[in-house]
């Protein structure tokens, strides 16, 4: 759907140095959006920047037709987007891609690195709504980062969260995989088979976390990111490399259309050419 969504609210979250924005939009896209899907946002009406920017759905209120986006100001596109004010309109394409799978049974473990928590939030809420047990392992820089990146939203939703920070200012000191290893020794998390894992964060982190959980026999989904042109599968700008489990055949997957959620076991993380 292409929609001129109305900006309901738009503000910086927490410490401005993290440049994390919360953008709430009123749009019919909220009627259909699923956790893990994204929208393609036209950040400027002119030609600068030219291309739309993909942003994950971070919360959905179907009744109010409200979509929440959380994003970090990174470069020109998000800088321009951050100028948009409540009451103005933004052109959105969406909902795009394939979202996460809600497990039929067993626990759902979410693993986030940095702002990778954003697309996991609606998944956690959906799991909650279906009384699927869910918890989040989340690695980040320091305490202020977590508060600025919406830790409160997770707490409000009543999701158990374990944190690890690089400086040890909150949670365990170290990266998120250390945290998981620590927590899972003996617990069902690490035991594999029955549980489902959803991972989102920097590529290196998703790789190691995915490999770790796959070894335990868990079913793993990862949320990939690539630069996008069309976001509908038409330009082949955003592909990743996949290996068919059975045939071993290597093929490309379109992050925008076949993903951004992929089976961890299919992703070839370091494929070049």
């Amino acid at each position: 759907m292409l929609d001129k969504a109305k900006v309901v609210s738009h503000q910086i979250m927490g410490d401005p140095c993290y440049k994390i924005m919360k953008l709430v939009l009123r749009t019919d896209i909220a009627r259909e959006g699923q956790p893990g899907q994204f929208v393609h946002v036209q950040v400027a009406t002119g030609l600068d920047p030219l291309l739309r920017r993909p942003i994950s759905i971070a919360d959905i209120d179907r009744e109010a037709r409200e979509l929440t986006l959380l994003y970090r100001i990174k470069g020109k596109g998000t800088e321009v987007l951050a100028q948009v004010k409540a009451g103005e309109r933004l052109s959105l394409m969406g909902p795009l891609g394939h979202g996460f799978t809600l497990p039929e049974q067993g626990e759902l473990i979410l693993v986030a690195g940095g702002i990778g928590s954003f697309p996991l939030l609606p998944l956690a809420k959906a799991a909650r709504a279906k009384t699927i047990p869910v918890r989040l392992y989340w690695g980040g820089e320091d305490e202020d980062f977590f508060t600025s990146a919406g830790l409160g939203l997770w707490q409000d939703a009543g999701i158990p969260v374990s944190l690890s920070s690089m400086d040890g200012s909150i949670g365990a000191k170290g990266n998120v995989l250390d945290l998981i290893r620590e927590n899972s020794s003996g617990s069902e998390a690490g035991q594999g088979a029955g549980c489902s894992v959803a991972v989102c964060g920097p590529q290196v982190m998703m790789k190691v976390v995915s490999e770790y959980f796959l070894q335990t026999g868990a079913s793993v989904e990862v949320s990939l990111e690539e630069r996008m042109g069309c976001a509908v599968g038409a330009c082949l700008g955003c592909v990743c490399t996949l290996k068919d489990e059975n045939s071993g055949k290597i093929r490309r997957g379109k992050v925008c259309q076949d993903g951004p959620i992929f089976q961890g076991k299919e992703v070839l993380w370091d494929y070049e050419q």
């Binding site: 030609l47 030219l50 069309c230 330009c235």
Partner: protein
């Protein structure tokens, strides 16, 4: 025919049909190869039955995984891409894609590429009238591996040879797609006309590069890529204008079209039809808005048929 005060024109029906030699289009607006997938991807946004036609992603005889990532980077009013001709290959296309493509309620142009004359021959032979494809666009901007990587599209003799071969192997209308990375675009246009091209489409992308100054390396994994989007429009319009004066075959103009005004520029410069590429990424409704805008322009300027405005700025 050309009076701005000619009564109430607001309801006047404009004849949008254009005849590109052997290829007739219900309106002059196409979409570009490589930006419109296989015709279904944009369907939820832009009904293809309203378009003059679509051009499929470039095909080669063998399947190709294309280039490593990243493949895209944004540039001022444009973008560079190095998709590297990722495509399912001829066999898979005919088997898995063509059945759906032939159901598309619009004119469908296949875009073929190759790295040798043999490749082009294989591709051309596979497409004949009745196959569900209405015309063949020949992308000659690929390196010719047999000739040390020199490009078919930058040497008039090679370009003529490729087009003549394709023309011999298919009974479909043949569109020669010109590369702008040449000293003399007119010479190239004349060469493909000699080769028997029914139509010329232009322009393909300009070769460009962006560098990530923090990583101190090119932004694209492939280093160089094709520059497209509004940034290149002045170059494209200039080339269409030059070629329109030099050849008889009809021209499909493309390069940076985003709005109907952009499309009208190309038509005034001599293009009988236009094609939208990068513009779809910005506004998936661009093709529809361009059709409506051209129609309204004709009406306002007192024309009855869109073909009347072709070449008026020559």
């Amino acid at each position: 025919m050309n009076s701005e005060k000619g009564g109430d024109n607001s309801m006047k029906k404009i004849n949008l049909e254009v005849n590109l030699g052997p290829l007739a289009l219900r309106n002059p607006v196409l979409t570009c190869s490589g930006t419109y997938g296989f015709g279904e991807e944009y369907a939820p946004y832009c009904p293809v039955d309203k378009l003059g036609g679509i051009t499929l992603k470039g095909l080669t005889p063998e399947p190709r995984l294309g280039n490593p990532l990243p493949r895209l980077a944004e540039t001022p009013a444009g973008m560079i891409n190095s998709v590297g001709l990722e495509n399912p290959g001829l066999e898979e296309f005919l088997h898995s894609y063509l059945p759906r493509v032939r159901e598309l309620p619009t004119t469908v142009i296949a875009n073929i590429s190759g790295f040798s004359l043999q490749d082009y021959e294989t591709m051309a032979s596979a497409f004949q009238s009745g196959s569900g494809i209405d015309a063949l666009e020949v992308n000659i901007s690929c390196p010719n591996v047999k000739h040390g990587g020199m490009h078919f599209g930058t040497h008039p003799d090679s370009a003529e040879e490729v087009i003549a071969l394709v023309k011999k192997k298919t009974d479909l209308p043949v569109i020669a797609k010109l590369s702008p990375n040449v000293t003399d675009i007119v010479e190239m246009a004349k060469a493909v006309e000699r080769g028997g091209a029914d139509i010329i489409s232009m322009i393909n992308t300009l070769l460009g590069m962006s560098i990530d100054i923090e990583k101190r390396q090119p932004l694209l994994a492939n280093k160089v890529g094709g520059l497209s989007g509004p940034a290149i429009r002045p170059v494209a319009v200039r080339m269409v204008w030059q070629v329109a004066q030099a050849v008889k075959v009809p021209i499909i103009g493309m390069g940076g079209i985003l709005t109907w005004q952009d499309a009208v520029e190309f038509m005034l410069a001599g293009a009988k039809a236009v094609s939208i590429g990068t513009g779809n990424f910005v506004n998936p409704l661009a093709p529809l808005e361009v059709i409506e805008g051209i129609e309204e322009y004709c009406r306002r300027q007192g024309f009855d048929a869109v073909e009347e405005i072709v070449g008026l700025a020559l």
